[in-house]
Every structure is written in C-alpha cells, then in structure tokens.
C-alpha cells in the first residue's frame, strides 16, 4: 500500500500580534515590538496509506486545522515536508467562493472549478449535485436568498462530487439537519468503500471511533497519541479532563470560600476518569474568615448536553452549621455512580439556606469522565445480577 500522504517532521509557526499592524504607519512605529512567535505545529510526522481514513482530534487550538491546511497546500510549513499523491478536495471550504449575488447554478460551476473540476465534468455531475443538495426548486435563485442550511448543503454537495483522491474534512458534519448529516456520513462511507484517502478533523469522538482506521491526537501542536481510534479517544478524554480543571467561573461574596475541591476515585486517588458503579467522593475544603450563620454546601452534576443530572446539599442530607467559622472539610460520598459513559460537569456552591445569598459558586468548574467498561446501552447504569436456573 503506497502512502497517499506523507508528512515528515513538519512545523508551522505563526506570528501572533496583540493587534496586527495592518497599515504602514503601525508597521513603522510598532516595528515587530508587539509580535511573538508560537509554534502551531512542531515535529509532526504521519503517513496516511492510500485508502485509509485518519482522524485528527485534539482540544481547540491544538493545530488540527493548521495540519489540514498544510496538507491542502494552503499554508506553507516552516519545517519539514509534505508529499501528497493525487487530487485533493478539502471540505474546509464548504461554499467557499459562493457569491451571494449569483444563482445556485452559477455558484455550483464556479465552486466546482475552484475545487478543480472542469466544465464538462461539472455538466455531467450537475443533476447529482442538485439532487444531493435537495435544492432542485431553488437552483436558479440567487444564493443570498438561501437559508444557511441550504447554503451548506449545496457547498457539501459540490465538494463531495469533485472526485478527489484525497478528501480533507474539517468539522463540517456539525451542519445541517439530522437527515442531511446521515447522508453526509453515507457519502463518507461510500468514499471509504471506493478506496479514497480521508483525513478527518472532528470534535466528536464517537465519529472517530466509527469512521477512522487510525487516529492522531494533537495537543499544543504536537502528537500526543496515535493509533487505534478507541484508545486514542480515551486519551483525548483524559487530556480534556485534566486541562479543563484550569477553566472555571467563580462568583459570590466569598464570606465562605471554597479553597479547594477534589474528586476521589474508589482507591482514594484524585482522578477524573471513573467507571460506572464506582464510589466517588467530592471533597471541598472551605474557609470562613468571619462567622456565617447556617450556610448550605451543595453540588450539582450536569451532562454534556448541559442537562442537570443530579444534585444535593448538606441541608437535605441533614448536616447543619448554626455558626460556621474557620476551616472545614466537607465530603459528599456518592456510593454508586449510576452514569453511563460520557463527560460530566460539576458545580459546587456555598450559599444561605434560602439560596438568596451566594457565598461562593463554582459553575461547572470540575469535569470528570465516565468510561464504560461494558457495552450496556441506556441512560443510567444499573448493576445487574443475573440469576438463571433450570426449572
């Protein structure tokens, strides 16, 4: 199997301006003073054999799109080399070059020629393109009257009909309605069957597991993990869980302050990845410089869709402090984690009993992942004991 794409030790650095000098005057007076270099990609090597699908995952700003743009030839690397074989079509460019004043038909021809299709080739595929985009009634309407969904559908339809050897896809499946998304996935599966090479950037880990033969995890421009999609996706979740601790949003009067908080696993070590059924402890260290009357400590857990999954507080659990002063430690022990696989966000708060007065609130500041060990589907994890006997 020959390599369709060979990336060898490439690096790409950008100059980051606090504010870009885009006029001569700024350029002269601010001579490079407010610029700093940073490497968006460093020492990245990857080979994509012909006919395989590579998934690129990583947090925002990890260099996924930069890598894709280097492969597409849009950006020039500062180090290393990239060798590609055959026509590349990039779905970075859904509807790129669509002009609002032109009709759908005119834009199809323009866009197709930008992506490298000749007029005759476009003629031959025109009906397929319009059919795929589901826009036969609007094809002679100016694109400025299209809804954003129609716009993207037409862009996708053109892009997948240019007959590329290599297809670069950047986070485009998050568009359109569900039915159209399925259609796009079908098209990708068809490309795979036809033996085309695909490089695929996404934030949706389950898509990676479903579609990719090989997966690359990037962080801060470097390859962190590479290999079997499910394993790399797990690494990705771990990475996100660790990094997310740095984020957060605090509010409140701080009359009682959350000094630190930790999530414990069953063995007592602070971790962010659990399995269904684990014993999980949420521990808060609190401090009140002056006495506070009757505070309540609470937590709430949200899932990835921001749905409130579960929460409770010290008041409901029968723990009260008529006078709260100095340092205290509070532990919520969740005896049995009933969650299925996924990511969960924890909000912690200290407030007055009537909730009117917030002392300290950390909204969805803590993150943990639940990784399924088995393949039981559903919304909650219920420990099941199977009893079978012959009657």
């Amino acid at each position: 199997m020959a390599g369709a794409i060979a990336v060898e030790g490439i690096g790409k650095h950008f100059r980051r301006y606090r504010e870009r000098p885009s006029t001569l005057k700024e350029r002269m007076f601010l001579w490079r003073s407010n610029a700093e270099d940073f490497w968006a990609l460093r020492d990245v090597s990857v080979e994509v054999p012909e006919g395989t699908t590579l998934g690129l995952i990583g947090p925002n700003g990890s260099g996924k799109t930069t890598l894709l743009k280097c492969i597409a030839g849009i950006l020039r690397p500062n180090e290393g080399s990239i060798t590609t074989r055959g026509r590349i079509a990039s779905l970075l460019a859904l509807g790129a070059g669509f002009h609002p004043e032109l009709t759908g038909r005119e834009n199809v021809y323009l866009n197709a020629s930008i992506l490298g299709l000749s007029r005759q080739e476009t003629d031959r595929r025109f009906d397929d393109i319009v059919g795929f985009a589901e826009l036969p009634d609007f094809i002679d309407t100016q694109v400025k009257f299209y809804s954003s969904g129609m716009y993207v559908r037409l862009g996708f339809a053109v892009a997948v009909h240019v007959d590329p050897a290599i297809l670069l896809i950047d986070e485009v499946l998050a568009v359109g309605d569900i039915a159209f998304q399925f259609k796009c996935l079908d098209k990708i599966a068809e490309f795979q069957r036809e033996g085309r090479t695909i490089v695929f950037v996404t934030h949706a880990p389950d898509l990676v597991a479903r579609l990719c033969d090989d997966t690359l995890l990037l962080n801060h421009g470097q390859v962190v993990a590479r290999g079997e999609p499910r394993a790399v996706v797990r690494d990705f979740r771990l990475l996100m869980a660790r990094e997310d601790l740095a984020y957060g949003w605090d509010q409140g009067s701080r009359e009682v302050e959350i000094v630190s908080a930790e999530l414990f696993g069953p063995d007592g070590g602070a971790v962010a990845v659990f399995s269904p059924g684990d014993v999980v402890t949420i521990q808060l260290d609190l401090r009140a410089p002056a006495p506070v009357e009757d505070p309540v400590v609470s937590f709430a857990i949200y899932d990835e869709q921001n749905q409130f999954v579960f929460g409770t507080n010290t008041d409901w659990q029968g723990v009260r402090w008529p006078r709260f002063e100095g340092k205290h430690r509070v532990q919520f022990v969740l005896r049995h984690l009933p969650f299925v696989g996924g990511r969960y966000y924890v909000t912690l708060g200290v407030h007055s009993r009537d909730s009117r007065h917030v002392y300290h609130l950390q909204e969805q500041r803590y993150v943990f992942d639940v990784v399924k060990g088995d393949e039981n589907p559903g919304l909650v994890h219920i420990p099941v004991e199977v009893r079978a006997e012959r009657l």
Binding site: L24, I82, G97
Partner: protein, 299 residues
C-alpha cells in the same frame, strides 16, 4: 485537467521558487477557473442593475462630455475630432487604472477562498485584469462608434502600433498589478496610496491634453527635456502608441497634436517598453509567487 495521473506534490519549508514554464502549464490547466472568475467579476458587477454593461460604456462618455466642455469650449484646445483623440488615449488609461484598482483588492477580497482552498494565487489578479479587459472591449466599441461617426480613421502602418502597444500595456499592467495585489495583503494602505498615485499618474499621461504639446515643449527639468521625462512613463509611451494607431492625425509641425516622430521610431520605443515590461512582469511574478505561500496566513 480531467486526468491527472497519480502525481506527487511535494511541499517543503523552502519559499517556492518560480519556474515559469511549469507554472504556466499549471495556470493553463486552471484556465476554466480563470474564465469563471472573470465571468463572476463581470456578472456580479452588473447584477441587479438595470443598465448593466452600459455603465462601463457610460464612463468614457462622461469623461468625454466633461473634457470636451473644458478643453474645447473653455480652454480652446483646438484638437480636431477631440472625442476620438480623448477616447483613444482613455481606452489605454482606463484599462490600466481599472485593472490596478481591482488587482489591489483581488486577493484581499477573496480571503475566504485563499484561506480555504489551494489554487494558483496568480489567478486572482489575473481574473481582475481579465475583467478590466472586458471593460476595455466595451469601451473600444464606444471609440469605434465615434470613429465611424466622425469618419476619422487613419489606415496605414500606424495600425501596426496597436498590437505592440497592447502587449506593452498588458505586461506593464500585470506587473504592477501583481505587486499591488501582494502588497495589499500586508498593508491595506496600498489601495489608498494607489488611488492617489493613479490621480497623479493620470495627469502625467497625455490623455486629455495634446501629446504633441509635450513633444514641442522646450522646458526641461534638471537638464532633462519634458518629452524625455514623459518617455520614461511607460503609460505615456503606450498612450502615444494608441493615439498614433487610432487617432493618427499628427497635425501641423508648428503645433502638433501627436509627437511628430515616425511610426518606426514609435514602434521601436514601444518594443523596448514591451520588453522592459515583460522583464518587470517576470520580477513581479517571482515576488508575488514568493509571497503567495503566506497569503493564507496574513489574511
């Protein structure tokens, strides 16, 4: 470009070096894209307008009205068939200024393409220049109508100057166009500076006033005669060529309308201008090509 065999493309950190012939082949392969972009420029310009392409023809007619009034009536310019004279020079000038104004914005205005799709970047200023070429043809029709109306046609060797002038004009315009297009990516001052420069340049080119006056002027600046100074302006040379080919009337020796030089002399001059412009075009192309690798980053 239907069948590209399993070809290898290698990209490295080296700034790309222009190799003219392979690059020309690449551009040739993308000729349909160029055609589509020219068509887009032209049709977008006139979409949703009632008069459409007529606007392109109205521009020279407006110039004609204004300058006829100023020169023929107020200043008593004394150029017979002034409209043919003016339009023949204006034809070359309008191509130059329209193309440059569009070229300067060509890359910047297509930022959404440049940052998302790979294609030879030269296509963008080429398409803008091509759209200016369409304008050129429309304005040539206006000129032809006036030539026919005044029955002012000089058929002779002078017509040979037209193709040479055209080559010189196209090469020079494209050379400057590539420079302003790439400069404007980094410094948006370029398009504003260009507008000012074009204003000065317009009046330094004998389009509205008699080019023969320049020829007979005895004034000199720093020891160089005015005529020689004008010769150093490639656009003035091109305009001399257009006027001689299309207007053709040199006028009386005492106060000539056109420079009283032979057609052969002009042909040599324009040949030199064309060669120099082609050399400039090569340099400008190399410069553009070198910078074009980083356009996506700078936009």
């Amino acid at each position: 470009m239907a069948e590209i065999p399993a070809d290898l493309t290698v990209r490295t950190s080296e700034p790309p070096k222009l190799r003219v012939l392979p690059r020309l082949r690449e551009l040739w392969a993308d000729r349909q894209l160029l055609g589509n972009l020219v068509r887009k420029e032209v049709s977008v310009k006139y979409k949703s307008s009632v008069l459409g392409v007529a606007w392109s023809m109205l521009n020279p007619i407006m110039y004609l009205l204004i300058f006829s009034l100023v020169f023929a009536v107020v200043l008593k310019g004394g150029i017979p068939n002034y409209s043919v004279y003016l339009l023949s020079g204006l034809l070359a000038w309008n191509f130059f200024s329209t193309a440059l104004t569009m070229d300067a914005r060509s890359v910047v205005e297509n930022a959404n393409l440049v940052t998302k799709v790979y294609f030879p970047r030269e296509i963008l200023p080429l398409a803008s220049t091509g759209a200016a070429g369409v304008d050129f043809l429309l304005q040539a029709i206006v000129l032809a109508v006036f030539m026919a109306a005044y029955r002012h046609v000089h058929v002779g060797l002078n017509l040979l100057l037209l193709p040479i002038s055209l080559v010189a004009l196209a090469a020079f315009t494209m050379a400057v166009g590539l420079v302003v297009a790439s400069l404007n990516v980094r410094y948006r001052d370029t398009q504003h500076l260009l507008n000012l420069l074009l204003l000065v340049w317009f009046w330094s080119t004998p389009v509205v006033y008699a080019s023969g006056r320049v020829f007979v002027s005895h004034k000199s600046i720093l020891g160089v005669s005015v005529f020689h100074l004008f010769l150093a302006n490639p656009l003035a040379d091109v305009v001399f060529g257009f006027q001689r080919a299309l207007y053709g009337d040199v006028g009386p020796a005492s106060s000539p309308i056109l420079p009283a030089v032979s057609v052969g002399w002009l042909a040599v001059l324009l040949g030199v201008v064309a060669l120099v412009s082609l050399a400039l075009l090569w340099l400008a192309w190399r410069w553009f090509f070198r910078l074009s690798g980083d356009f996506a980053e700078d936009l």
